[in-house]
C-alpha cells in the first residue's frame, strides 16, 4: 500500500495530567497530539504493565474501564493502542505502545507483555489483536486466534497481507476495490 500513515507533528507538547502522574511514579511517557481533547501518551513496551496496574488501581486515577485494545499497522512500526476510561469519573486516556518493525515479514510478530493477567477485559481484545494485526502478547493465558480459524496463515490487517485465493473465493477477488 502506498498510503502514508497519519501525519506526525513533531511539536513538543506539554506533559499532561496522567503523564505527570506516571512520571511521579517513575514511568516515562511521551505526549502525542490529542484527539478530541483526550490525552494521548506513548510509553515503552516494558513499562506498560506497571503503568496499567497503577492507572487501574490508584485512587488518584481509577481508569478502570478498558474500552479496547487495538493494533495499528504503520509503515515502520506497529502500535498497540489502549483506550482507558473510568466508570466513576469522566476521565479518559489513550496509551500507545510503539513496536518497531525492522523489516519484519507478514509471518513474524512483534512481542510485548500482556495485561490480561490482571485485567480480564484485555483477554479477548489481545487475542483479537494478535489474530488480526499480529502482536504477540507474552504471558497471555490463552493466546490463540479468536476470530479466524486456529490454523490461519498471516495477519489480515497487516498492510502486506495477501489473501488466500482458493475454491471458496476465486470469483473476482478484486471486484469492488
Amino acid at each position: 500500500m502506498t498510503e502514508k500513515p497519519a501525519e506526525k507533528t513533531e511539536v513538543k507538547l506539554e506533559i499532561g495530567r496522567f503523564g505527570k502522574f506516571l512520571q511521579d511514579n517513575g514511568i516515562k511517557s511521551k505526549r502525542q497530539s490529542d484527539s478530541n481533547n483526550v490525552e494521548t501518551i506513548v510509553i515503552d513496551a516494558k513499562d506498560l504493565e506497571p503503568a496499567m496496574r497503577l492507572l487501574k488501581t490508584s485512587s488518584e486515577t481509577t481508569l478502570n474501564f478498558l474500552l479496547c485494545v487495538s493494533g495499528v499497522d504503520y509503515a515502520d512500526k506497529i502500535d498497540s493502542v489502549y483506550h482507558l476510561w473510568s466508570y466513576e469519573h469522566n476521565d479518559a486516556l489513550v496509551i500507545k505502545v510503539e513496536l518497531p518493525k525492522n523489516n519484519m515479514t507478514n509471518t513474524q510478530t512483534p512481542c510485548m507483555s500482556s495485561i490480561s493477567n490482571f485485567w480480564p477485559a484485555a483477554n479477548w481484545h489481545e487475542r483479537e489483536t494478535y489474530d488480526l494485526v499480529g502482536i504477540r502478547y507474552l504471558k497471555h493465558p490463552y493466546l490463540r486466534r479468536i476470530l479466524n480459524p486456529w490454523d490461519w496463515e498471516g495477519h489480515p490487517l497487516r498492510r502486506d497481507y495477501k489473501q488466500l485465493i482458493d475454491a471458496l473465493n476465486d470469483k473476482n477477488p478484486h471486484s469492488f476495490r
Binding site: P5, A6, S35, V38, L67, C68, N123, L147
Partner: protein, 376 residues
C-alpha cells in the same frame, strides 16, 4: 455389609457437549464447548468468529462513502447506532458541524431503533426461556410498525444507511412525524401488555430470579456496559455520563437494576429502557427544530481530514465505540470497532460455571449478544 451411598463414593464422569455453531439458543453462530457434570456446567469455552466478515478490513479497503453503507451490518439490530458512532468519529476528525435538526433526527431514530432492538430481544429471550409459541409473537407486532416507519425514511427495513457523516440523508415528511407520535401514544399500553404476561409469570420469575448474578467488580473487570451493567446497579449510561449529540437538552432518568444484578434485573432494565426511550422520542418530536439536515456533501469521493478520533455512544447493548485513523485520503487508514457484545460476551463463562444447562439460555439471552457485533 452396607455400603454408604454418599456423594464422595458416587463417581461421575464429565461430558463434553458442543453447543453450536448451529443451535437454536445461541442466536446464530456462537459455539460453546461445555463440560458438563450431569446437568451442571463445569467449564465453558466460547468459540467465536463464525461470522467474522472482516468489517475492519473492509473499512480500510473501501472509501468512506462506500463504507458508510456497510456498517449497518456490524450490529444489524441497531444499525442507526453503528452509523452514528462512525459518523461521530469522522466528525471529530473533520470538525464539521452537524445542523441541529439533524442532531434531533439522529436522536429520534436512534431511540426508535433502541426500542425495536429491545423488542426483538424480548421475543428471543422468551423463546430462550421455552415459550416457543404465543408470547414471542407480540413484540414483533410493534417491531413491524417501527420497521415500517424506518422504511419510510431510509428505504430499508433493517439496513438504514440513514445517518451520514455530517448529518442525516433524508428529511422525513410531516406525516411521518405524526405516525411516530401515534406510535408513542399507544406503545406504553403495549409494554403494559407484555409486562402483564411476562413480569408476573411465576415460571419466568422462577427461571430468572437469582440466576446469573453479575457482580459489580466482575463487570468492571471485564468491561461490561449497557443494560447488562446497569442491571447490576451501576449508574453508567453514556447519554448521561458523557453526553453526546442533543442528549444534554433532553430530560430522562437512567433505569437501574433493583437488587442484585441477576437475569431478572437485566430484563427489567430493558423493559424500563423501552419506556424511557418512548419518552425521549416524544421530547425529540416536541423540540424538533427546522433547518438543514446535512453538514457535509455526500459524494462518492467523500474525504475527511487527517487525524484520529474515538467516539463512543450508548447502543442498546452497551458502549459502542469506533476508532478511526484517517490520513486525509478517501479511505480510512484504520477502523477499529469497540463492540459491546464482544466485551459483554467475555463475561459469560464466569456467569455460567456451576449452573445447570437450562440457565445457559436464560443468562445468555439476558446479556443480549448479537453475533455479528461480536465477530464483525
Amino acid at each position: 455389609m452396607a455400603t454408604e451411598l454418599t456423594t464422595t463414593n458416587l463417581k461421575t464422569d464429565e461430558m463434553i457437549i458442543n453447543m453450536g455453531p448451529q443451535h437454536p439458543a445461541t442466536h446464530g453462530v456462537l459455539r460453546l464447548i461445555l463440560k458438563l457434570d450431569g446437568e451442571i456446567v463445569r467449564h465453558v469455552e466460547p468459540v467465536i468468529g463464525h461470522l467474522h466478515r472482516a468489517q475492519e478490513w473492509q473499512g480500510q479497503n473501501r472509501t468512506l462513502f462506500q463504507y458508510q453503507a456497510l456498517i449497518d451490518r456490524v450490529d444489524y439490530l441497531s444499525g442507526m447506532f453503528t452509523s452514528l458512532a462512525f459518523a461521530h468519529a469522522c466528525e471529530q476528525i473533520d470538525g464539521c458541524e452537524v445542523p441541529p435538526r439533524a442532531q434531533y433526527l439522529r436522536a429520534l431514530v436512534c431511540e426508535m431503533n433502541r426500542i425495536s432492538s429491545h423488542l426483538l430481544w424480548l421475543g428471543t429471550f422468551l423463546i430462550d426461556l421455552g415459550a416457543l409459541f404465543g408470547f414471542p409473537f407480540y413484540p414483533f407486532r410493534e417491531r413491524e410498525k417501527l420497521l415500517d416507519l424506518f422504511e419510510e425514511i431510509a428505504g430499508q427495513r433493517m439496513m438504514f444507511n440513514y445517518i451520514r457523516i455530517g448529518g442525516v440523508i433524508r428529511d422525513p415528511k410531516p406525516t411521518w412525524f405524526e405516525k411516530v407520535r401515534k406510535f408513542t401514544q399507544e406503545f406504553p399500553d403495549r409494554i403494559d401488555e407484555y409486562e402483564a404476561i411476562v413480569t408476573q409469570n411465576p415460571i419466568v420469575l422462577k427461571r430468572t430470579k437469582d440466576v446469573g448474578i453479575l457482580d459489580k467488580q466482575v463487570a468492571f473487570d471485564y468491561g461490561v456496559s449497557g443494560p447488562s451493567l446497569r442491571g447490576s446497579g451501576v449508574n453508567y449510561d453514556l447519554r448521561k455520563v458523557r453526553p453526546y449529540g442533543i442528549y444534554p437538552d433532553l430530560n430522562f432518568d437512567v433505569p437501574l437494576g433493583q437488587n442484585k444484578g441477576d437475569t431478572w434485573d437485566r430484563y427489567m432494565c430493558r423493559i424500563l429502557e423501552m419506556r424511557q426511550s418512548n419518552e425521549l422520542i416524544k421530547q425529540c418530536l416536541d423540540k424538533m427544530p427546522e433547518g438543514e439536515i446535512l453538514g457535509k456533501k455526500q459524494i462518492a469521493g467523500l474525504r475527511i481530514k487527517a487525524g484520529e478520533g474515538f467516539s463512543a455512544i450508548e447502543s442498546p447493548r452497551g458502549v459502542l465505540g469506533c476508532y478511526v485513523i484517517s490520513n486525509g485520503s478517501d479511505k480510512a487508514y484504520r477502523i477499529k470497532w469497540r463492540n459491546p457484545s464482544f466485551c459483554n460476551l467475555a463475561v459469560l463463562p464466569s456467569l455460567l460455571i456451576g449452573r445447570p444447562i437450562s440457565d445457559i439460555m436464560a443468562i445468555f439471552g439476558s446479556i443480549d449478544v448479537i453475533l455479528p457485533d461480536v465477530d464483525r
